[in-house]
Amino acid sequence: MESRQLNQEAGSRKQVAVDREPLLKIEDLAIHFHLYEGRARVINGVSLRIGRGESVALVGETGCGKSITAKTILGLLPPNAEIVSGRVLFEGEDLLRLPEEELQKIRGRKIAMIFQDPGTALNPVFTVGEQLMDVASWQGVGWVPLVRRRNGDLRKQCLDMLRLVRIPDPESAFRKYPIELSGGMRQRVLIALALLGNPDLLIADELGTALDVSIQDQILEELRDLVRTRGLSVLYITHNLGMARLVSDRIYVMYGGEIAEVAPTDAMFTRQLHPYSQGLLAAIPRLSGSIGEGIEGRIPDYIAPPPACRFAPRCPFRMEICDQQRPLLAEAEPDRPVACHLYPTSTR
């Protein structure tokens, strides 16, 4: 009942802004890190778009730059990161150029992040309710004086949110400390926290990775349904292609700080165009009884990355041009952008 009301609210707000312009658009992002060893050229020309109501998965292995991409959107990069070029357009506004105060109005309210580790993302010395109310009061009209924090409306709003993420007995969970809840319940609390600001875009970083499969599956399905009924856009950051298949409409495969391939989810699992996507999918153990050979080598050294295609040193189809010219991310087939010289569209 409650969720339907919230849903209608979100729906009407969205109709006002119906246009073909994507909600979030990252253009040619490049980020370097200043390390003791030198300048690490990590993110190298990443472009990505998320439409309204669309769920996009950014998939890649450890160290490919997927989390950094997500952190850039929220302006949460560490101090040694330097944004060399690019734009992050949210509803047409470049987030990279916004002053901190403006960004704070967007962070948590229009774009919210579901944090990855349910063990550490919550404050251990406050109850779940206190943390929810704290966020809720901040999300509402700016600072609410501390006196008003005991406000019944706020409490009700938080309890409704716990109900929405299907926490059994929300009243008792509200009074508990994070340590008294199981991992799955804590993850649900983190989802509730992210939803409190009624955001348009959710960023889910490795959601449920720390949980058992049965709990992870439950939470993902519930979130997927919640996202659909409320018309939210989501960016899932994950290393798990199986999970991406379950929740996303479109998949970006990332390797070495670049986008290797983009495809609608179903198409990606039918046929992969980039040799890295092929290798990655083949390496997943199957219930039907097969496990591939894996991919030779290791991720590039970002201080001295390969000169052209960053995957070339590990690629089974390496050609001469792969070490000379960087492949462009271009549509090799309709709706199938890929950055690989095996496809003439990627070669200038």
Partner: protein
């Protein structure tokens, strides 16, 4: 031939409370497990967090002393051997841990790490040991000249795990306990480590006890699979049988939760089952069948009768009253009761 056997293994950890640390209860981590590892085979222990799979692995290695039960290695009872007597047995049983970043000493070089078991067991002269370390590095596909003097921090995750495997192989053990050996690694690296482990098993006639929470991975490595829930084995079967005919409701639910990447896999997965709630704490195991509060096929009596392991033929055992001839053995309903069923996503 049975290499390692566990009979009626039980491990309770006491729960204490109050000023005097009075014992108020038990965490029943492992609660009556019988297990046989055949030589040259892989037995997988599968279960969720808190199911007791790691504790069972440690009991079988005698890293923990069982509360009751018997362990036999190569036909010899090792349950009550002292540390001195255990030493020669320990040469035969080695372990590879989950996270190579924390199981390798950061202050030692690859050579010293791999050599350590040889030093502890006083094998060979320093020159012979170095030759052996080089051999071992080659075995795990790391060129010795490149890797002998590297510290763990200068290795990638996959390379670290290879060093950990080389260390486990140093004493030419018969049995290796692999506790989630690939769960800290990326899939493309995991596939390479699994391929390596399989090759080593073939070449060196190794027996593996493979502890994992990943059923898709287990499908690809195990000859026999034991599914654990709250300290008990709820289903035990040859790998292929288990995945073709999962019989315990818990096994089915676990299988149905696996995210798949292909349609042929999706076809193997039972209809979507969403379990109620989460795995209870092993300190408060529900009465009767421990799984009954979450079970979708629960019948009258599940909360009172402790089910036994019931043979279904071909080495397939299942701990569920629905297969018990004494109760008419109706079997598991093909479709879960509608209240808990969600149409399959594929």
């Amino acid at each position: 031939m049975a290499l390692l056997e566990g009979h009626g293994l039980v491990k309770y950890f006491p729960v204490t409370a109050g000023l005097l640390r009075r014992k108020v209860g038990d965490v029943k981590a492992v609660d009556g497990v019988n297990l046989v590892l055949e030589e040259g085979q892989t037995l997988a222990l599968v279960g969720e967090t808190g199911s007791g799979k790691t504790t069972l692995g440690r009991l079988l290695m005698r890293l923990l002393q069982p509360t009751s039960g018997r362990i036999a290695f190569a036909g010899r009872d090792i349950t009550n051997l002292g540390e001195g007597e255990l030493r020669p047995v320990r040469r035969q049983i080695q372990m590879v841990f989950q996270n190579p970043a924390s199981s390798l000493n950061p202050r030692k070089r690859a050579k010293e790490i791999i050599e350590e078991p040889l030093v502890v067991h006083a094998v060979g002269t320093p020159v012979q040991r170095l030759r052996r370390v080089r051999e071992l590095l080659e075995r795990v596909e790391l060129p010795p000249n490149d890797f002998l003097f590297r510290y763990p921090h200068a290795l990638s995750g996959g390379q670290r795990q290879r060093v950990a495997i080389a260390r486990a192989l140093a004493l030419q053990p018969k049995l290796i306990v692999l506790d989630e050996p690939t769960s800290a690694l990326d899939v493309s690296v995991q596939a390479k480590i699994i391929a390596l482990l399989r090759r080593l098993q073939r070449e060196m006639k190794l027996t593996y006890l493979f502890i994992s929470h990943d059923l898709s991975l287990v499908r690809n490595v195990a000859d026999t699979v034991a599914v654990m829930y709250l300290g008990k084995i709820v289903e035990l079967a040859p790998g292929k049988t288990l995945f073709r005919r999962p019989s315990h409701p818990y096994t089915r639910a676990l299988l149905s939760a696996i995210p798949t990447v292909s349609d042929e896999e999706a076809a193997l997965i039972p209809e979507k089952i969403v379990l109620r709630g989460e795995i209870p704490s092993p300190a408060r195991v529900p009465p009767g069948c421990a799984f009954h509060p979450r079970c979708y096929a629960r019948v009258d009596g599940c909360d009172r009768i402790v089910p036994e392991l019931i043979p279904l033929g071909d080495g397939h055992l299942v701990r569920c009253i629905l297969y018990d001839p004494a109760f008419g053995a109706p079997g598991l309903p093909e479709r879960p009761a509608s209240a808990n069923a969600i149409p399959s996503r594929n």
